[in-house]
Assembly symmetry: D2
Homo-oligomer: 335 residues x 4
């Protein structure tokens, strides 16, 4: 961290600042220019509050040199993380596809879709039991019963399951779930992050609608700081001024995150675009850009799905996406 002081800083305040910084076990490197004095802080600055220093009268500006995250940082863990989930490896070039309905609606529905996506080559079954819905009057999910149905489908078809937790009080219901999804709206639900950080279970962490990549990494750091190293990042589009698509899919996030972190990154083209016919081209593009996998909504009867019908494919359309993705994979960006 570098602190740039204003011209002629008041001496007593400067002394105060320096002794406070030293109390945090930081070495200070002084650099006096003609008009600018710079303090270089050496040591672990991850707990130093930049805003606080910025607020001091004598400070012109504060600049962070090192990233504020450690466990997720590729600098300290150069090798890709690979997560083994029921024998299926995620990360480091093991391309995996998670597919399934937005919401679990019935045994018949889950089984039909699970069969379809398995046949098409999906590696994981997803389905929402708890559903975050903007309106209190919209379908809120089958909850505990939905998780039961997913587990039954897992038994029947052998696909590990991915499903979203909406509050830490629901976690006991997730004991047999293979991957716990933390949704976009919960990316900065720090209490939930701490709690899943204590588990020994893979977590799929979705980027928030208005969160930077640095914030995504900081949220992953919350989970890893608790001891859970099995974090999968998920790019699912950000909120911008453009309304032609539900969100703006940020595919440059993939190669950029790859330079910052060792964690696997999957892409959700369904929520990112909100439009069924854009799922295929964006799935291909995500694979080409070097993603470690995809998360795709599939429904047996899209127009009658209880939520997000607009963005889901039939199993047949999903099979077509899988073929296209598999064709492009050997030519994808490798970094």
């Amino acid at each position: 961290m570098i602190i740039i002081l204003k011209d002629n800083p008041e001496e007593k305040q400067l002394d105060n600042l320096i002794s406070w910084l030293k109390s945090m076990n930081l070495d200070i490197h002084f650099s006096k220019g003609e008009s600018t004095t710079i303090l270089g802080l050496i040591g672990d600055t991850s707990a130093v509050d930049m805003d606080l220093i910025n607020a001091l009268d004598i400070v012109e500006t504060v600049k962070q040199v090192q990233e504020p995250y450690k466990n997720v940082n590729r600098k300290f863990h150069p090798k890709d993380t690979v997560i083994d989930i029921c024998g299926t490896k995620v990360g480091s070039g093991n391309f995996q596809v998670i597919a399934g309905p937005c919401s679990v609606e019935s045994r018949e529905q889950v089984f039909e879709i699970a069969q379809g996506v398995k046949k098409a080559g999906a590696h994981f079954l997803r389905g929402g039991a708890f559903k975050p819905r903007t309106s209190p009057y919209a379908f809120q999910g089958m909850r505990a019963e939905g998780i039961e149905l997913l587990l039954e489908a897992k038994k029947e078809f052998g696909l590990p399951i991915v499903t979203e937790v909406m509050d830490l009080s629901q976690l006991p219901l997730f004991e047999e779930v293979d991957v716990i999804q933390v949704g976009a709206r919960n990316m900065q639900n720090f209490e939930l992050l701490k709690e899943v950080g204590r588990l020994d279970k893979p977590v799929l962490l979705k980027r928030g609608l208005a969160n930077t990549l640095k914030e995504l990494l900081m949220s992953a750091e919350y989970i890893m700081a608790g001891g859970n190293e099995k974090v999968i990042l998920c790019e699912r589009g950000i909120r911008t001024f453009e309304t032609a698509t539900r969100n703006t899919l940020d595919l440059a996030a993939i190669p950029l995150l790859k330079t910052k972190t060792h964690l696997p990154i999957v892409v959700d083209p369904s929520h990112a675009t909100g439009i069924a016919h854009l799922v295929k081209p964006m799935a291909i593009a995500a694979a080409a850009a070097g993603a470690d996998g995809l998360m795709i909504e599939v429904h047996n009867d899209p127009p009658h799905a209880l939520c997000d019908g607009a963005q889901s494919l039939t199993p047949e359309a999903f099979a077509d996406v899988m073929d296209a993705v598999n064709a492009v994979l050997p030519h994808a960006y490798k970094g």
Copy 2:
């Protein structure tokens, strides 16, 4: 709700759509133009999923005519809501100021600030016991102990207290708290919203960083749908491309929300700007624009606050803001 069909819609699909709509107790008004057929849905459409209809092959587009919220809607509750909190009225022209530190740090700190803001004319004491921090290594708040200190300060100085809940599992600790704050990052934590909707206690609901006003109203609707009618909305800035301020304060939200809802609206100029010297002008402007109150961070020693020091004022500076706000209030926009 209006459904605009594509040219020459497939008849069987149209029949399916119509019978499905009728099964939801909606009347359908048919309107056949030269090239466009329009269905007008009459009845309660708040549970109808627009995305789902939009996904149908025969549908060109769906347009919402009525707002999807009821309890918060001014149409159905033309009179301003007034919330009585320990004898202090919020809403309908009762301008109230909530002030206090970002984080509770010690008894001494809370008492000194409580005394200062009371003297300056604040009506509520705020302070964070549970703190949402981007970094797991930053100070996370005094938690239960922080709430205790706030309650002691309330006893001593007679100011009702406002403090933030971060997870529904913490709610038992909030029994004696006067106003429960739901923070920006939790605006769409629907499980939490449902839970505070079951309480008989005022809730201060902050707008999310990337949430539209319509979504803010839908989140308030979650709380009211549970039976809790004591909701105070809070505009605290949205995330935009501009980086000169921490967020972009959206003051037009005040008069716009006033036309849509009967709920009180307060403004938080501290978090909105993130810069101490902008708090005063934005507090004045918010009051002038017709806000029902303000929420301002005050610290006895800004540069040493454990969080958000950059945006907080000393009690003296806060008193100056109060004077300026009180001067402008008689000339504020009344709607």
Copy 3:
């Protein structure tokens, strides 16, 4: 266009509205529901001002059903536009790459780069003669002399040239230029659009930093309305809250635009990301998503380029990108 009236509209105002609409040669289809009256306008509504109607006391809301663009609309021109530029075809699956320096700096520089990109397989040479720079103190381009150097390079290496016009007064200098680029900051410089619309010369129209796809199409409509049908659209990233990349590349724009328009669409991964090592993965992803071509900055000596050095590649790195793109092309999304 559909006009939804408020309950019980004042009759005289309604009569006025109707006669005004009829004066614009529109047929009006009346539809009276229980609480809502809807007017469906039949005919050419492209000149009807929605904002104006929206402002009327008796109007609840106005909804556009048809797109406000005609010439660029795929509905009326289902076949892909193919533009022949010096024998090189752009559009409809003819994948073309435009490469060259951000700014023309010297004959030596242009020639060296032209030779390099030609060898690597580029189809067009680009280079900035007039440079839009945020600072008046930054290098503003070689202007007329720069265009001369590009034309010399064209003669020498046989690559048609693409270069940016910044003001319509410069157009006389562009007579021998093969493709005129209208930059992102000029996407809504309507006087310039009208002027290039009168030319018989291909125009590369870049999307503005904060412009929707609909606005991009409306700007293309300006050019086509003037008679110039040779318009190439260019996605180059939009401005969002994310600062890790210079802009956010919106690759979903490619398949979405393909459904709306028959015009070719190229992607500029250099400006979109602003980071050299992201150009390759985004070039691959753009090709995979179905783009009709790429526009890539190449410099013989990136760190000493006079502008945008951070985003440009050496000819060697560009050759590597070309190889990767060519490998992915046979597996790209075809629509």
Copy 4:
């Protein structure tokens, strides 16, 4: 400017960088920490390209310490600029209101509005002769004839006029215009900025829809660098994800700009909100926040205006706004 080097920078590259920086007449202050080496550049760094340095292999990051603008910088011109326009002073607490129709439509219209706004207390008459319209089929303005009508109105009513130029080729028509407006879409039309920078005539520079305050100041710097010191800045809302208002009015820009620059700042609540009933509260709020003036659309017959009817007031409603603004002005933020 501060350059932070990577660990163990390659020596030859470092030598090259240093000699290149010295060739730009910069002194270099070296600061070697344990793991980080920092170069502090002393001298005029306004012409140094940060992106270029950032692209060098040996550079970790570059940080700007000083603002890249000089002429507009309050540091070098601590006193507020006051611009005298036909005897009316703009800036430094002289609150002025510019009012008039979006588009000039007829003599009758302009005269009626001019009379109305003059009576209500406006200081300047505005009106669009050249109109930037998203659609080529929308009314494009009366052009030269429109300017004539404004000049006639000026003669009749004595109000100086403000009108927008859309291209530098139109400037000869603006010779008798009192204030030339550069619209939001032209804020980075650098050729136009250079040209108006050569005039001795006040320029009203509107912030672009997606432009930062720093970019606004850089565009003002373009004008001042040419010798024209009469620049008035105008905040008119920025483009965000919120669609309830046309743009998001950024009132914090006023006090923030006041600390950065000595130029006057006016606010346009009409375009910022796009909704007539929000103009009054936002006008009051802007005045309260310390703006130097307002720009308000007024129309004699809002629903029949040829453009932007939704955001314009009648002269009567405008008079009401003036009263409200005048009441709040004595209590406005003074800095």
